[in-house]
């Protein structure tokens, strides 16, 4: 089934062309200068959610500083035919030549269908979904946030006194599980006695349950909290309110916890967005599939807050330099939660590898269950 019904804007556009004649109609659609590049960005939630969308919006703001680049944005676009209509109107009304579809569910069928319909427009989607055989003008970009969570884990492992660290997670999908595992590896590296306790809320955004989960973890004795939910605001504020330390996720939550914030795992989409814009300005082809972590400057850690001890800062900085240089995070021996061996002595996973992105298990040291 085609996802594109005639939208109101495209109807108005056709009417405008009909009324004004072809030449004036085209100039009406494309007011931008020939050499300038218009980039459209579609967000699934509000741009200032202290989370996933804000991380993209911060990069979009940086992109606006690039000369000859115009950025058009639309927020709160659901993962339905509505996102196709938003992207289509960015193409036909604003003259966008590059579209960033920033939510997981936008890709199939919407981005794929639109890429076929508009072969001259480039589409890039923020999750590793593009595969051979998909339209060549579509593609994927993503950051390995697990590397930044590993650094968080190192700082957290040196900050806990009760040796219990809480992790509020949304849904048990690969990315979330990988972040939990990497965080735990960081914790265990500096503090083998510590455990990481996970509570899954089951939803990307459910503030009341996130607050309940954060409170339950503190009640169970955790003295450092972190999370992987869409908007970490509630978890970080609850942690601060209960007097425990916290590590952030997705964007900077440092202002929310002036006393207990340690550091956070953040994307740095800006690197990718500026690179794309530069390539298009030079007339180069965009890569279909890019991903990476500290090595490519796609992720970063939030500047240390008041909760970070000098010891934690030193250890985290040292580990980040190692990861940046390509030292693997997943080095054996590592066991899965059920006791089976994930990596034997001497084995390791290369950072950002496909095996890591297909994570469907939790490692030993994590308390919590996927189902």
């Amino acid at each position: 089934m085609s996802a594109f019904t005639l939208s109101r804007r495209s109807l108005l556009k056709s009417a405008a062309i009909g009324a004004l004649g072809a030449t004036s109609g085209i100039s009406l659609i494309r007011p931008a200068r020939a050499e300038s590049l218009t980039i459209g960005i579609v967000y699934v939630g509000p741009r200032d959610d202290f989370g996933w969308n804000q991380a993209h919006a911060v990069a979009a703001a940086a992109l606006k500083q690039v000369p000859d680049v115009t950025v058009v944005e639309e927020e709160n676009v659901p993962e339905t035919a509505a996102c196709a209509q938003s992207m289509e109107s960015m193409i036909s009304l604003d003259g966008a030549k590059l579209i960033f579809a920033t939510s997981f569910g936008y890709y199939s069928p919407f981005v794929v269908d639109l890429a076929k319909k508009y072969p001259e427009v480039q589409f890039r989607h923020a999750a590793p979904l593009w595969k051979e055989g998909d339209p060549v003008n579509a593609g994927s970009y993503f950051g390995q946030l697990d590397q930044a969570h590993y650094i968080d884990g190192i700082a957290a492992g040196l900050s806990t006194k009760s040796n219990k660290i809480g992790f509020v997670a949304a849904k048990p999908i690969g990315t979330v599980l990988l972040n939990i595992n990497s965080f735990t590896l960081g914790v265990k590296k500096v503090n083998p006695a510590a455990t990481v306790q996970v509570i899954f809320t089951g939803e990307w955004s459910m503030p009341v349950r996130e607050a309940e989960a954060a409170n339950a973890l503190v009640d169970a004795g955790c003295d450092v909290l972190t999370c992987h939910v869409d908007g970490p605001k509630v978890v970080i504020e609850t942690a601060e309110g209960r007097g425990v330390k916290s590590c952030g996720h997705n964007a900077s939550q440092a202002p929310l916890a002036p006393k207990g914030f340690i550091t956070g795992a953040e994307y740095k989409w800006e690197t990718i967005y500026k690179d794309y814009a530069a390539k298009l300005a030079k007339g180069e082809a965009l890569p279909n599939f890019i991903g990476g972590g500290f090595d490519k400057d796609f992720v970063q850690n939030t500047p240390y807050g008041a909760g970070a001890t000098p010891e934690a800062i030193a250890a985290a900085d040292a580990a980040r330099a190692e990861v940046k240089a390509g030292k693997p995070i997943f080095v054996g021996p590592i066991k899965k939660q059920d006791g089976s061996v994930l990596l034997g002595e001497g084995q390791s996973f290369v950072n950002s590898s496909a095996e890591l992105n297909a994570t469907d298990y939790l490692i030993e040291g994590v308390i919590g269950s996927i189902t």
């Binding site: 200032d48 306790q197 409170n215 339950a216 009640d219």
Partner: protein
Amino acid sequence: MIETELGWLTVPLAMLAGAIRVSTPFLFVSLGECLTEKSGRINLGLEGTLVFGAMTGYATSYHTGSPWLGVLAAGIAGSLFGALHGFICKLPKVNDIAIGIALMLFGTGLAFFFGKPYIQPQAPRLPSIGLGSWSDVPQIRSALDINPLFLVGIVLAIALWWAFKNTRWGLIVRMTGDSAPAARAMGYSVDLVRFLATTAGGFLAGVGGAFLSLSYPGAWTEGLSSGQGLMAVALVIFARWNPLACFGAALLFGAAGALGPALQSVGITQGYYFFNAAPYLLTLFIMIASVSPKRSLKGAPGELSITK
């Protein structure tokens, strides 16, 4: 901060704490809806009122620096929504359920529109009363950190229950709800009574919203309510239009909502989707257990469009 090991006791304690923390919005919205329905009208728009109240309360608290002014502003905003519902439903051939759904969407949308600039800033939050200072166990102290609005809610539930039985105003509201012709025969304006009851109900729902944004979880975000206003409307039916039962039902829903996270925190990690669904399963179970095809809903106001 030193935590004490409680082990299994964590679960009942977390459920008690959850009941106290989570129940307040349920309580306020269901009391407001109870009052409205007692007068013979259903206001399904309270979800929208709740969200708009949350936004108004947060914005007012941010600008004035006083969270209590925020609560008042949320109540006033809520009563405006209630008044709008009451006024439109007064017009001939208007369906109160349809208007309620329209106002629910309107209230939510308006709150999102005006609420944009308030997602980032931090507003002063309502203070809580530490009733647990007698205990050395930090979990108990935190569970008994009670918001004054919760206590106000309890007083209000008792007052409403008493007023429905014992005061002239209570009797007028009930009579209007049970039989409009009787109320007219007694010389009361049915529309005016319902208008005032809906307005007052909206006020309470707005205050419930202010609790969400100013106390627990204590921030304004667009996903704040996740259907609590709608569940509170169902609570009223479950509570059989009895304000005291509304209080009990609100506590039960709060506790059921805390069950999922609490079980995971003590290591019962399997099946969290099931436990997270506890409040909804509980509703279904009680409805099935208490409904009989042989009799109508006990205590339902006779004029309600769903029971007529």
